[in-house]
Amino acid sequence: MKPIVFVVLTAAMVAASSGCRDSTPGRFVYTPVPYTVVTFPPVRGTPQPTMVISIEESGQPYSADLVLVTLDKSAKARFMRWANSLGFTVESDPESDNYPFDFIFVSVRVPLGSAADALKLIRKQHGVRDAGLSHFAGTLGSGGGQP
């Protein structure tokens, strides 16, 4: 059973007219990447998802406003202070603070179209073990055919 594809384009193509800007401490300077806001129809059991998608040169879509970060748990507070100072929002599962690991996973919400530039900055921060763009996987099978 193939899911119905229903994509609504609500905004498109923020032009990269602003160009590069200088970086200064306490200020996040980035080059906006074109992005698309994609809203999917509501489906029973899930909220109506809206995704902000940019496309890599390879053709892979990724979230234009999200960076995925694995941190040393001890560095989380410091990282959040830094991120907040730049206007980023750090999101994490509240339960994860209690997980018995030295690492913690957080999602960093960044300005639309800035994920790639934000990633470069985040990777340099203390305690960051791994960071990357938020791509998408897919389920690898479907039903409904015939033997």
Partner: protein, 715 residues
Amino acid sequence: MNSRKMWFGAVTLGIALAASASTPLVGVSFRHAHAATPAFELAVDCDVSAPGIQAVCNVPVPASGPRSVAVVASNSTGASVSLGAFSFDIFNPNCGGAGATTTPQGTPASSGCTGAPGATGIWPASNPNLTGTSAGFTGLVNAANFANGCPAGDYANAATGASGTSTSFLSCFNQLGGETLANGASVILGTQTYDVTMPAAGSIILTLSNVAATDDNTVSLLSCDPSSAPPVPPTGNVTGACFPGTLNFTAAPPIVDDGSGPRQEGTLIVTSSLQFDTGGLSVLDPNAQLIEDTHWDQFGVRVLVVKTLDSNLDQLIIKLQGVPGIIAAGKNWMHSLLDVAPNDPYWTGQNNAGLELINLAELWSYSTGSPNVHVAVLDTGVNEIPDLQGRVLPGKNFLDATDDTSHTDGHGTMVASVIAAAKNNGQGIAGIAPGVSIVPVKVCYPIHLPGVYGFATCPNGPILNGLWWVASQAASGSIQLVNMSLGGDPDIPGASTAIAAIHQRNVPVVVASGNNGSSPVMYPARDPNAIAVGGTWPNSDWRPDANFGADLDIAAPFQTYAMNNIDAPVYAQGTSFSAPVITGLLALKMSSDLVPEGLVLGDPWAFQTWANWMDHTPSHQVVSCSGWNQYTGCGVPWDANDLGVKFMAARRYDLNGDCIVDVADEQILALHWEATFGMPFYNVAYDLEPLSYPDLDVDIKDLQKVFSREGFRCR
């Protein structure tokens, strides 16, 4: 090589098996005197250094007329060998009177048979191949022999078929021995002739016990004719250790089923240390009686069969727990040969789609899955459909803040059903591990995003949250397995750390390889700590739309039937449905671990082979095997050469646990079960030869088919 076991060949029958040049080789075979060609063609070996080993042959005989059988030993060791003591017993079940439990050698009129038993033994002076002296073997079981130091009452019991115990059988027969058999020579150890008219043609059953060569306590036993009449139920057959010890004329306990599965009534299987004092059993339960005691020196254990009142079993099991030297105790479940095809309507379709590659009936004889095994399914959510009723546990939803883990597009439920759908509930499909529990971890939206492989979209963020949550659950022991039927081209940043954290808790992460027929396999399948599962056609050949490459570990059928809701199953395709097959197999393994009564008794090697399955190898593959290839990895488990799951299945044929599948196992089979078509315990899953069709008889050839595929011995 286990020095206590050797290979034997029956020179008299023209059959010789390979043997070490330095290894003594003795074959003992039964031969039917009236057969134009030798009735027995298999040479076997058996270690009877532990007491209690018996071998039983069924020899078809006509209803009347003089007949005879012979026990023949042959030596092709390259050197002379010394023969130790032996005994054997012949009886005809057609001559059993009312209430008879055993009838040695086909007597007497009171049992419905007429004629003379006529027993003659030949040993050894008439055979020039033997040197040495015999202390006085005069024949088989007959009055004269019993008179030779044995209480007459014992013979009376035997002759009339009455129940009884001969406490002096030993003294009757252990006068034998000390003879030397020259290399290349054969000798008739004993014969039995009789002229008894039976009510009908039937078979005589020969029981040979404790034939021992004095060298290294290694002995040879008889061989059986696989084309002989179907095994006859051994009700009333001699059970227990004949030598040394007592010969118990007791009927085999009946099979009962009080809802938990068939088992032998009133018997416990107890695994103990070698030093365990069995005398204490009667203290724990005055009715407890030790009826079998098998030493497995190589394992450092004994396997005891204890008989008591059926109503006492549960209490005795509790009492045995904690007793020094007791390793395990459980009821005598009949795990083998009893599992039949489930009645789920799409089971046939599942088999045709490729599950027949995996001998699930075999695996289910170990376990059908424990609800204590919790399988996390990172997917679109799982609905508690009837096939999963009562086994969908609270999970986690990482798509929103709700606790709703129900499915959004059916994919997660389909995957869960392949793992754990109930079997024998008359609906839907049968899962690989029908008893395990599912923990839904909802990480995929029911939408398709252009540019993303697959049918539902799983953002990396929820996947990572899901993995770390699973890691925390694994750390607390709440999750034992993870299935991820999802993937994509890019790595998921940080996922490797999370998967490593899960793996470090010995929780396997099983992942689909991808469906675009390219290399490498997708991520997270190619993660170093994931088990990457490829896809095959029903015949186990690589299916070209399944991803492949250096990181592939294993394969399973690409297509199957799965439940996406309470409706009829759907035909489903994708490595999404290959991965849960492997997950289910691992779940069975873990279920066996968690339910020791189900398997561990008498089969101490099975878990080790399973453990080996998860070995890491330097070549990255999580699953280790020989014969790996980039398209199917180690292959479909049953089809792979070196996987624990297959080996474990083969081990099931090693019914006496001596690490060899041989005629002794077949004899155990014959002793305990009827295994021809139409009989309750015939199972086509064991009927493996000839290749093209079942011959409706589970016999030594079937065992040896597995034997030959596995190599001759345990690893």
